[in-house]
Amino acid sequence: MTICDACGAENIQGVDTCAECGSALAGNDLPQPSNSFEQHIMATRLKELALDPPLFVDGSDKLGHVVDILASKGKGCVLVRRGGHFAGIFGERDLLLKHAHRQDAWRDDPVEKHMIPGPVTLKGSATIAHALNKMDIGDYRHIPVLGKDGEPLGVLSIKAIIRHLSEWAGAA
């Protein structure tokens, strides 16, 4: 059953409006935490975590240049801008699977030709639970985290999530 926040009436789980007072019930059937771990991951916003600063490149930048950036910064992906706006993502997995075997043929390609356009992102207001959802179901290792203007605040990496939860669990 879903309890209406406005009038307290019981409603069938999943209905959109309260049968008693007509208030919207959308969102009332979202999961509720049952222990402190769930409370932590469902309440902690991504913008509160230590995000990797975004490594921006322009879409016209060559892959050879992108490789230099990835190597020098020790990061797994770059965020691609086109026309000054966030447009895509390109990572070392793409190099491994699609380009490295081509010897040097790929180095002069513009990164926008090979990036993943419109990647999965989360807003800074999303929670760790949302990030775990994306990473587990979607198999993503890097998720750009967006600010209110829709531009990346940073990148949440799978390693950062593990480090955060390890520190949190170890604090007990």
Partner: protein, 158 residues
């Protein structure tokens, strides 16, 4: 209590994470051969072993970027010059808590699982940990809407 999480991590063994099969290659191979193996299974690493099958190193996509591509080295370079030789390992009966601590402090994404003889028997990645954590609270994670900010305000459908 978050001690419940710690207990769950301590009580679950690495074996219970279902390690991926150990993708191995002779440590005398080239980077090109390692790359071919990794691409064939779409894996992020390959374990280099000696003639007796013992683990001698790991070659990852990070090594590929830093030691080969950024260094403008030929793919025919010896794998032994590009792999990471000194590495942490896990055993099947180690706890997930131990795995998590190693991943967290070491900054790696893959850990070989070896038997008592030092022979690789599997690979654990950070994705295994993420999946395990998600499985400890499936409703909290899997029952979320695809778009966190999209809330239905109208009736739709039948």
């Amino acid at each position: 209590m978050f001690s419940e999480l710690k207990s769950a991590l301590r009580n679950q063994s690495v074996l219970g994470l279902k390690p991926a099969p150990a993708l191995t290659i002779d440590s005398g191979s080239t980077v090109e051969a390692a790359l071919e193996k990794m691409r064939a299974v779409r894996g992020g690493c390959v374990l280099a072993v000696d003639a007796s099958g013992k683990l001698r190193g790991i070659f990852t996509e990070r090594d590929l970027v830093r030691k080969v591509l950024a260094a403008a080295k030929s793919l025919t370079m010896p794998l032994s010059e590009a792999m990471t030789g000194t590495l942490r390992t896990l055993k099947n009966d180690d706890s997930v808590l131990k795995a998590m601590e190693i991943f967290s402090s070491g900054g790696m994404r893959h850990l070989p699982v070896v038997d008592d003889e030092g022979l690789p028997v599997g690979i654990i990645s950070v994705k295994h940990l993420i999946h395990f954590l998600a499985q400890t609270c499936p409703e909290a994670i899997y029952c979320l809407p695809p778009d966190p900010e999209r809330v239905s305000v109208e009736l739709y459908g039948g």
